[in-house]
Symmetry: C2
Subunit: 291 residues, 2 copies
């Protein structure tokens, strides 16, 4: 944290997303000594970010001059301060040199932007990636599944590729609106999930493959109850098909439920998915901010 | 119409979709002598289809024993009677032999199903395709743009491939819900449409390409006002990329606005799009039902 003249005894890190936030207190040894999570995401808090941090510190019994480092959508144009994206060529290990100081003892981690024809961006995941790097994962694909699944290819701790898939968002939106929505009432089915993955391998454009979920049902080739898991397999399978250049092992940073789903998918593609615990990864990243 | 023992003097054809219907009165010479359209689609009418036809005939000043041939979603499980799909191998010219008689003087045209790995279906478009065939278009790609854009490859009047793209539905749904919705306020832009087409050529999975619409905006590479036309170009371009095996000329059956949009897209792919008027095509199909 080169923007501060002293080495603090502890840091509060906040993974501050659109709808939720998670806070972690890290001591100078890099140990996480306190955790907190709530629904005070960017949308709920804005524009009162400074006050919200004061309240959070008080609720956690921490002094108000505790250094706070926030990552995620808090650094977007809709957040506290828009922090310019770093270029993908900036090594992850240099992230601590690029924090934006937005108030005394308050810092925001910049996201990354991949420029050129295949523009892609991240805000928040860069901190998870720094944590993965700190835990020894400097090369290969790292996947962060979710509403906007991120696939990031690292080489020696430098971002080579960012691919964001609106997997979770499409699953939720198509489940609530339009042609597929009435088919989304079924239970989870491993077999239907596998069939959806298989459909993804055929590489039909998704706008076509999505219609064919319904076509399978109305043509009597699939029970309506299977459509939900099939759709999930199709969307997640699409991510794996796009990463067919992946080495044998992929690192994932995911909740246990998503880790299990993605590990099942990876196995069908002959890949090994090694899961890292998101909390552990975040704390490992925060420890780097003491350097 | 082999299901009827006499040759009628006129037929009322109804293109009966989910939300709207269009009716055409055809005389024995194949001339369209009367037209009508209203919002009494399948959802508004069901389950009172028979009565709705009586009312329509009365409103058009026609005798109640006028033979009526309906196509479209009226033949689906949610419609009047579920009419089994024909297999794609059945030549279009044989459609008149496969009408389902659901009541005296009342018939429904069956849709088509493409079976196998790439299951796809149509209901209503088969009648348009019969019309295109009647007008001399027995070979090559026919595109019927819309909520669910159909691309159909014909050879000697037999369906070789059906590809349905949820183009219109995705455009509407993503414009109303989720990450892209706040970006959809801009005016139409030919340049942004062309850029979206260009993005489609890169063949990134749509779940990725859709996120990158937003990434372009937040990274400052595209004005937010351009996102709507870019999305339109991306979705329509995806259809053309999938049909890169197309011969130089494609037939389209579309409203003037969609015809213009798709012709612009075709030109960017070095293809010629010849438009057929949907009403003319439908009437040409109806005339075949006298045979």
């Amino acid at each position: 944290m080169n923007t501060s003249a002293y080495t603090p005894k502890q840091i509060l890190g906040i993974d501050w997303g659109t709808s939720n936030r998670r806070a972690y207190l890290i001591d100078a040894n890099g140990a996480c000594t306190l955790r907190h999570s709530d629904d005070q995401g960017m949308l709920a808090v804005r524009p009162h970010f400074a006050q919200s941090i004061e309240d959070l510190l008080a609720a956690m019994g921490l002094p108000s001059d505790t250094p706070v480092i926030a990552s995620g959508m808090v650094g977007s144009a809709q957040g506290w301060h828009e922090v310019p994206y770093l270029d993908a060529s900036v090594p992850l290990r240099k992230l601590p040199q690029h924090l934006l100081r937005v108030a005394p003892d308050r810092f925001i981690v910049p996201g990354y932007c991949q420029r050129g024809e295949d523009i892609d961006v991240m805000r928040g995941e860069e901190t998870q990636l720094l944590g993965a790097l700190a835990l020894g994962h400097a090369d290969g694909w790292v996947v962060l599944p979710g509403t906007h699944s991120k696939w990031v290819l690292l080489r020696d701790g430098v971002i080579q590729q960012i691919r964001t898939f609106m997997t979770g968002e499409l699953y939720a939106t198509l489940g609530a609106h339009g042609t597929l929505a009435p088919l989304m009432g079924g239970p989870e089915s491993e077999a239907a999930f596998a069939e959806g993955m298989q459909a993804a391998r055929r590489r039909a454009p998704l706008s076509n493959a999505l219609f064919r979920v319904r076509a399978r049902v109305v043509a009597g080739a699939m029970p309506a109850a299977d459509a939900r898991s099939f759709l999930s397999g199709l969307l997640i399978g699409t991510e794996f098909v796009a990463a067919q250049d992946a080495s044998d092992t992929i690192i994932s940073i995911a909740s246990p439920a998503l880790q299990q789903l993605y590990a099942t998918a990876a196995a069908q593609f002959g890949l090994q998915l090694d899961g890292l615990d998101p909390d552990r990864v975040y704390c490992a990243a925060l420890a780097r901010f003491f350097d």
